[in-house]
């Protein structure tokens, strides 16, 4: 059992190496071109291109058979037919969208199904020919194992071209994807760039057809970039990661299918990509679910502690019957009854205990021998800051809510991190006025 596994993994088979190279190049191309398509929100255009390629392939086969019987199975011509079919399908989709009542999704669906239907008709005709349709089925379902050196050389040239175009026009494509109107206003030939990008999609479809088959080509245009988006917030990195995911899922798929020939390479490649997607979605560094969840938990904890500190501050304020606290000794010396925290925060007892334990671990609150909670020095500093921030935010909301309530960030350590200095100054003036007003009813009893 280990013997064939080793052979495959060590790439001892010449054939395995060839297949691996071919599919990996295609995977990389799909990932790179797919990134732009995903960001242009046209992820499913590739689906139309690949389905529309079927009549092209079949028609090319028939034409060859008519012109010179027996020459139908000539891959270059069939692929040329596929490219033409895909291109005319996308062109049709564009034209149909000119009809006002037909929206983009409908136009894509219509073209996809009608072209595919026409392809099926042609395919059945081909099947009834004495030569049969064995060669064509490889284009539908893909047959990575049958890739020859010649195929891989053409794949390498084509994907080299695709990658070179993407590299050279990276800046232009990213502008097109981000802000088409601005690009047009700057004078970039937006229409032609879009056409070129579409041509690249067609090229990827054609490149992938012999290995994964036209039904699954679209997966390599959609899955790797969507997976890559979880890892980074930079377009350059995203394109790179997407290309890598595409190539490595292609490699994994080819290797598995080389080990277990019953597993068709195309489907396994796609499913390997799906696994990469699942992993990325959970563990992705930038937008992955896990990191997002951890960050959220951290920030919840942080806010919990800020709330606790503020409650402590307010409790001390209450006992001292003074609205403005200046002396740190007040803050650290005054015991804070648990009940007052419970009532001010409306937390459950268990939650309060959790927050208190965490606060004591962080050294901002201490439980003294008299079984009373008190703020530590560090805690006092932070509590005062938290209370001040909170009041400033409150004032901001009261006075500037019409501007940008979305800017309120209670978790920010200091309001200064979010708001501009002059705005804070304005808020502090307001705070002073408020406290003066508040002090009046509190202070009559010295």
């Amino acid at each position: 059992m280990t013997d064939p596994l080793l052979r495959v993994l060590l790439l001892q088979d010449y054939n395995t190496r060839i297949v691996l190279l071919g599919t990996m190049l295609f995977g990389a191309c799909g990932g790179v071109v797919g990134t732009f398509m995903l960001l242009r929100k046209k992820a499913l255009v590739g689906d139309v291109a690949s389905h529309a390629a079927l009549p092209g392939v079949a028609l090319a086969y028939l034409v060859l058979e008519v012109l010179a019987p027996g020459t139908g199975k000539s891959p270059p011509w069939l692929l040329a037919g596929a490219g033409l079919g895909a291109a005319s399908g996308l062109l049709c989709a564009k034209l149909i969208q000119r009809v006002r009542l037909i929206k983009e999704d409908a136009a894509l669906g219509i073209v996809l199904s009608i072209f595919f239907g026409f392809g099926v008709v042609l395919l059945t005709i081909v099947q009834r020919l004495p030569t049969g349709s064995a060669g064509l089925n490889e284009f539908v379902f893909g047959k990575a194992a049958a890739l020859t050196v010649g195929d891989v050389v053409s794949i390498a040239i084509a994907s080299g071209l695709v990658l070179a175009v993407c590299f050279a026009l990276f800046k232009e494509f990213s502008l097109l994807c981000f802000d088409e109107a601005y690009a047009a206003a700057l004078g970039w030939p937006v229409g032609r760039l879009d056409l070129l990008l579409t041509a690249l999609v067609v090229a990827v479809t054609v490149i992938g057809m012999p290995s994964v088959g036209l039904l699954l080509v679209v997966a390599q245009l959609v899955i790797p970039p969507t997976a890559a988006r979880f890892w980074t917030d930079r377009l350059g990195t995203m394109t790179l990661v997407s290309g890598l995911i595409g190539a490595s899922s292609a490699a994994a798929g080819s290797l598995v299918s080389a080990l277990v020939p019953r597993l068709a390479a195309g489907a396994v490649i796609v499913l390997a990509g799906t696994c990469a997607f699942a992993v990325s979605m959970v563990f992705g560094r930038q937008r992955g679910v896990l990191w997002h969840w951890l960050e959220q938990r951290d920030s919840e904890r942080h806010i919990g502690q800020l709330d606790l500190l503020r409650a402590c501050f307010e409790s001390v304020e209450e006992t001292q019957r003074r609205a403005v606290l200046t002396g740190e000794s007040d803050l650290t010396a005054t015991p804070i009854p648990r009940e007052s925290l419970l009532t001010t925060r409306a937390w459950s007892s268990a939650r309060l205990s959790r927050v208190l334990v965490a606060a004591m671990r962080d050294g901002v609150v201490r439980l003294d021998a008299d079984n009373h909670y008190r703020l530590t020095h560090e805690g006092a500093r932070r509590a005062r800051l938290a209370a001040r921030n909170h009041r400033l935010w409150e004032l901001y909301l009261i006075h500037f809510a019409d501007l940008a309530p979305s800017r309120v960030d209670r978790a920010a350590d200091q309001i200064e991190h979010v708001l501009e200095p002059e705005l804070i100054e304005q808020l502090e003036n307001l705070l002073e006025q408020d406290t003066l007003r508040m002090t009046v009813p509190v202070s009559p009893h010295p």
């Binding site: 992820a43 009809v99 037909i102 409908a106 219509i110 595919f116 005709i125 009834r128 019953r262 489907a267």
Partner: protein
């Protein structure tokens, strides 16, 4: 050529009728949910769904196989006694069809719902765009389905070609014992009936949830449930139809008839009648086409022995042709209509311009020394011919002249022109020489009602900004 067509068609048999009927029923059943998908701009959902149900179908096939193996003995008996106890076997067979369809439906529905949930989950948690999430889910599930077919093809009597492209021709052979009615026809008819009933009963709710989901929510109708229900029904319809037309061509049946009907009418109720009708016509024509066209075309280009081609594929093509026809010739805004309208407008403008010119020249009371202006554009040429024929102008010796009837029309046009100039002068901050060019454009679009409103707003003026008199209303 027509003779050849008829001769090919003369080979039409009872079986062909059943193929056409089965196809038509499948297409009609699909067209109903398809119409709603189209209106909700979820056409690609149909595409995604038809791909995503594949693993469910394969697993269901495997399950069915297992079931059938477990009671093979019983079914052998039924098969053996077909001729003797017809009535019994029909019910027995019906039960088998029902069971088979139930298993398939459950499998497909489960994978359809899994796909929907996964899409929702990925979209929400992954903060992705919907089409991207959809793309990830359906390509993955389709790949899984294909893989399962490859792995278990031998065990489940399931053929990838058949699942993808459908095989209407052979399903017609698979008849309900003793009746000659193909099972596919029964299954699809049942689906059509169910969809029709659902649309009839829930028309109001569907319309509301489609048109304005928020309003629907505010009235206590959960738009989310409506959309889930629509997805389930679509998945069920896709499953019923896929054996006949295949997993991918189903999307042609879902969307294309609906889109074609959409071009023909703006009324929702009519749309829901037209879409299945178009689907049925497309399906029947599809079978006719599959029987005739391939052989006619192939024999001409030198390929012998091609008698027919995939009916399912041809159904997609003929429905596509119907769609194309609607794009070109639909009465509301088809290409032909648009061209025709534009042409008519150009001629009308040229005619009115000519009348206006003649009127203004009469106003100037020049001696008739001007040569006749020859029409410069073809529209002007047609316009002049029309005016002459209708007796609105007459060709004098040196130039064209207005007749009385023509003068009345011309007066109306000049009145529109000058009223508009006055209106612009009041409301627009424009230099005087620019007033004319715009009025020249707008004068053709002022009907009597607008003209009256204009005059009223300007207090029935008699002089335009250039100091020329505005002619009175034509009686």
């Amino acid at each position: 050529m027509i003779a050849e067509f008829l001769q090919l068609l003369s080979g039409w048999q009872g079986l062909d009728t059943w193929i056409a009927i089965t196809g038509a029923l499948a297409a009609m059943a699909c067209a109903l949910p398809g119409t709603w998908l189209l209106l909700r701009r979820q056409s690609l959902l149909g595409d995604a769904l038809s791909h995503a149900v594949l693993p469910g179908i394969v697993v269901a096939f495997l399950g069915m196989n297992w079931l059938e193996q477990s009671d093979r003995g019983a079914s052998e008996v039924v098969r053996g006694s077909v001729n003797e106890v017809v009535a019994q076997s029909v019910t027995g067979d019906l039960a088998r069809v029902a069971r088979r369809q139930t298993v398939l439906f459950v499998g497909a529905a489960i994978s359809g719902i899994v796909a929907a949930l996964l899409t929702e989950l990925i979209q929400r948690w992954g903060r992705l765009e919907r089409s991207a999430a959809l793309g990830v889910v359906f390509t993955s599930m389709f790949a899984l389905g294909l893989l399962l077919i490859r792995l278990f093809a031998s065990r489940a009597h399931i053929d990838a070609d058949c699942v993808l492209y459908g095989n209407l021709e052979t399903t017609a052979f698979d008849t309900l014992a003793g009746t000659g009615i193909p099972r596919g026809a029964i299954v699809n008819a049942a689906m059509l009936l169910m969809n029709g009933l659902l649309v009839l009963v829930f028309f109001k709710e569907l319309r509301l949830a489609t048109f304005d989901a928020e309003l629907a929510e505010s009235q206590g109708l959960r738009a989310g449930w409506v959309s889930l229900a629509l997805m389930t029904v679509t998945a069920a319809t896709v499953v019923a139809a896929f054996e006949s037309v295949g997993a991918i061509l189903v999307i042609a049946m879902l969307i294309v008839p609906a889109a074609t009907a959409r071009l023909l009418t703006n009324r929702l109720s009519l749309l829901l009648v037209l879409a299945p009708l178009i689907a049925a016509v497309g399906a029947v024509l599809g079978h006719v086409g599959a029987l005739t066209l391939p052989s006619m075309i192939c024999s001409r280009i030198g390929l012998r022995g091609i008698d027919d081609a995939s009916t399912a594929g041809m159904m997609a093509v003929t429905t596509g042709v119907l769609f194309l026809f609607a794009v070109i010739a639909n009465p509301q805004q088809g290409l032909v209509r648009g061209l025709f309208d534009q042409l008519r407008l150009q001629v009308r403008i040229a005619r009115e311009d000519l009348l206006g010119r003649l009127y203004r020249r009469e106003e100037l009371e020049r001696v008739p020394d001007m040569r006749r202006e020859l029409p410069r554009t073809w529209a002007a040429w047609i316009a002049r011919r029309r005016l002459l024929r209708k007796g609105l102008i007459q060709s004098g010796t040196l130039r064209d002249e207005l007749t009385d009837a023509g003068r009345r029309l011309a007066q109306d046009i000049v009145r529109s022109h000058r009223l508009w100039e006055s209106y612009m002068a009041r409301h627009f901050d424009l230099p005087g020489e620019q007033l004319h060019a715009t009025a020249e454009r707008v004068e053709h679009f002022l009907d009597p009602a607008l003209q009256a409103k204009l005059a009223e707003e300007l207090n029935q003026p008699s002089i335009d900004p250039h100091g020329k008199s505005i002619p009175p209303v034509v009686e």
